[in-house]
Symmetry: D4
Subunit: 164 residues, 8 copies
């Protein structure tokens, strides 16, 4: 397992699959499970220990509201922790964004965008971290970036038809 | 000890003394110490265990930024946990307020106002909780409330001199 | 009656039933009714007096917009007052959250999360307050916390099937 | 007395004198005093009764944080109530603004700007309300508006020297 | 005509009818029309002049986004101007609320709540202003307030059936 | 081509057509295409170069979330750049608005309103810029402004039927 | 005069001189004066007429709080109007930003950053607009952009000394 | 060089030295320089190329206002990019936070807290990323984490003297 993915509630599964799709495209092995910082603090600690033991390179945490999961995970490990703030309250995710990103000195959480965009980017960031010592993956990332650009260029040509 | 007071950093001491002043006025014993949810998760768990063992009725937690302390304490106990969000970042405390109050179902944090007003109110709330089974303290609370009203009335008479 | 539940409008009933479900699970007696801080200030005072007379341990108040209900109730009693900010305007509940939590020194409102999550947590917090002097309830709370953890663990095992 | 001015704390005096200066310019009699919605609910009710008895045309209320004063006053009277949200917390007055303006249907608070600008405008608005049935005052208001314009024009001429 | 009601766009009609319903209940005559501060500044000035000429006691203005209508109207008159911020953009009405309430010293806008609640309260406030010199209307307002309280009490009795 | 219109994603097409409709009404030639500041930085530079080469008078950029497109375009040209912040995240467009408007000294982005209103106004602003050296277009703009006023006046007459 | 600069109050002079410095660097003639949308609506209209008569290419408007000045100016002209939101209230300029940028379709305001950065950029944007039909100025803008880059490069070399 | 540190302006130097202090404690080599996304887009591209050529493992970017620097850097590389939002405007850093974190799918920026706390954490995160393939550094990180805990414990003992 190269990446451990934790989420605070199984209602976050559909959003967090944005991360697993990207990891699978890159051929990166992962374990995804539920672990609540508040309801199961011991389970969180166990999952962090498992991630470290099995050689994970980083831990992705998705949580909403007072999103403490990434911070609690970060307090148990020196692996890079990636936080995905989820939009799970009437406040539009401002609560989870601030609760994830505003970590005190010494215990960083690498925070990405709110919701599904963030879940995907958590996986892209995990891949970038692994690629710092994996030349093959690094090449894959560069190739994917080029495909992404070509995809935009294709859409650009389609959109240009509107020109008058 | 009836109340355990934790704060995330010793830079919060001056603000959290708003709580100890009120507890002392009510003659409520307390222990105040520093315990960081992120830098010392084990110390936090130890302090919660000590609070439970020594018969504390509630735990007051003051923290700023991504204020996880109250939530992490609440995950370790079923004692009432009172959260004081502190204004410790350029965002005016909106980060700590949302990170403290927006707890998921099952693990409440009784959140009070930002900063020193909140630190004082955390102690007033702790006293109210203890007073639910302590008639003497309950009478003290009612007396204090009356003194508070008389104090406002005194200020009202002073302010009325501005009338024209 | 151990808990009085007030809400500012009967349109809040569905949300505030999040509180009654939890109280019923714990076997805590309650009275739930409507009392508007602005339209029926006398009724609010009467309800507070009834709560005190009948031995309630705390008062839960749910209100939206400029949510004054919890603060007005708190001005009439030294019982712990729990405020549930409701999401009842285009501002996503930021108005009711700030109007509930930012109480001045001396008159605390124990504020919980916005909406149904908060209604449930208001009841959990009420139970925690009552349990400070009720060993049987305290044991129930600890048992419920364990069930909650086991439920998350069950979901964790289901989610792990997504691992690759 | 034509206008009753209440403020939640005597620390608001300097700001609320923005209102008394304007009232004095218009020759409108007023009473200014302190009355806390939370610490002295009875005093607030007494002051409202005094305002009605003495023929006040409106009540100005200045308060910060969870600013309930104007709303509580409005719940006791059908006189126009003018709310001045004060900037008294780290949130820049967003708390008092929302707690003052977002009143439920049936109980309006005429809310003006934050802080001293708002205190002045509360008095201007009070004067406008009184002027709806006072031709002399109405003429004074129009004259004052013209002086205001001439004052801006004077400043305009000074500023034009910067032209190049 | 006692009240002029202006709105920035005819798409605001359904919301602003919250005001006309209340005015009709009180038997207050009004004129409601559309006048855009930005697209028809002359029409706005004409409408203000008509309001003054026909003896209106106040002008209600509903507008969304950068809601300048109330402020522009206030710049043309010394009649009380009531601003209803409308929720007409993705920002939940925060834009129109701030653009309406934060008026500079000398030119107040009496701002009420966002949307339909605010439209209703604009009419209640208009009635309160008119009632400062109309005893009959003043009695109607007090009677309406009592009916409102009885309505809440009726709902309270219905809600109490949920008590256990 | 007088105006180049870029958008960060083809999912923004429907909103950005608000701009093309207005340009077509004024008879202003344009090219609209997709170019992502983050996925295709070279394509963005190419499009800017094409705009300059073909004599465009300004460049309109629509983007959501961390909306960098307008800023990146502005870094490549001294043509006026108009930014349309799009509402493409749970934060209601506050992210794209701030990311578009808060440019550092020397590199302005002329920012307009969020979403479709902004897309239309981007085109109106582009027309105003072109009209600074095109008398015919300037006359068209004035005529359009008058039609707009007449349209509001027509709606005003319809709305006045609600008067009582 | 090529640019008219208006500000709502002479207290904004120091900030708005950020604009005049830039215009003078580019050798662009301007008139700067004070004109309040709310206190002197006629003066605003006169200034707009003067700007049009004297051949100004655009109008820069700086205002704080409920910043209506740019919108009101835009309602009187089809010249490009540039709005500089000023930070003049406890809300950090969020009020003036939203009141300036969120204009309805048909009446755009080209909004730049808050405060002095925005005042400077208003002038840069004005220069860019004028340069669309002034080749000499266009060359000056490109030269200034290069100087700006060289200045950053110089600072970069100084900062690199911190490298280890 | 293992880490490239870029900042948008040399006025950010004092804050970004929070990052260099931490890197020096860990013995990680770095290059720190200024490169503005808007004023020197070519310099930014050059610095990214230099970082890649010299084997940097990640790039730290500090910027304020419409903070595009991290996003622009991320568009040029597949190395992990760490964004430090700086508090450089009246909006308390909300602008730079949202402009840094809300990146679109495919181009992540690992965002840390606002200001100096964030600058320090950017370096801690960089160290964690490098440590994923550097056992010696990994041990240093764990040792540092323990020292951090002991430091908090020392402060806890000092704070406990306040206990009564």
């Amino acid at each position: 397992m190269k990446v451990m993915i934790l989420m605070g509630s199984d209602s976050d599964l559909a959003v967090m699959e944005g991360a697993t799709q990207v990891l699978e495209e890159y051929g990166i092995s992962y374990k995804m499970t539920v672990a609540s910082a508040h309801r199961t603090p011991e389970l969180v600690a166990l999952m962090v220990a498992e991630a470290e033991r099995k050689g994970a390179c980083c831990i992705i945490c998705g949580a909403g509201m007072a999103a403490h999961l990434a911070g609690v995970v970060a307090s148990h490990t020196t692996l890079p922790v990636i936080g995905v703030p989820l939009d799970a309250s009437p406040l539009g995710g401002l609560d989870s964004l601030l609760a994830t990103v505003q970590m005190p000195p010494g215990i960083p959480v690498a925070t990405v965008a709110l919701g599904k965009s963030g879940a995907k980017n958590a996986a892209h960031l995990a891949a970038q971290i692994i690629a710092t010592s994996d030349k093959t993956l690094s090449r894959k990332l560069k190739a994917a970036r080029k495909r992404m650009a070509r995809e935009v260029e294709r859409k650009a040509r389609a959109a240009e038809k509107h020109t008058k």
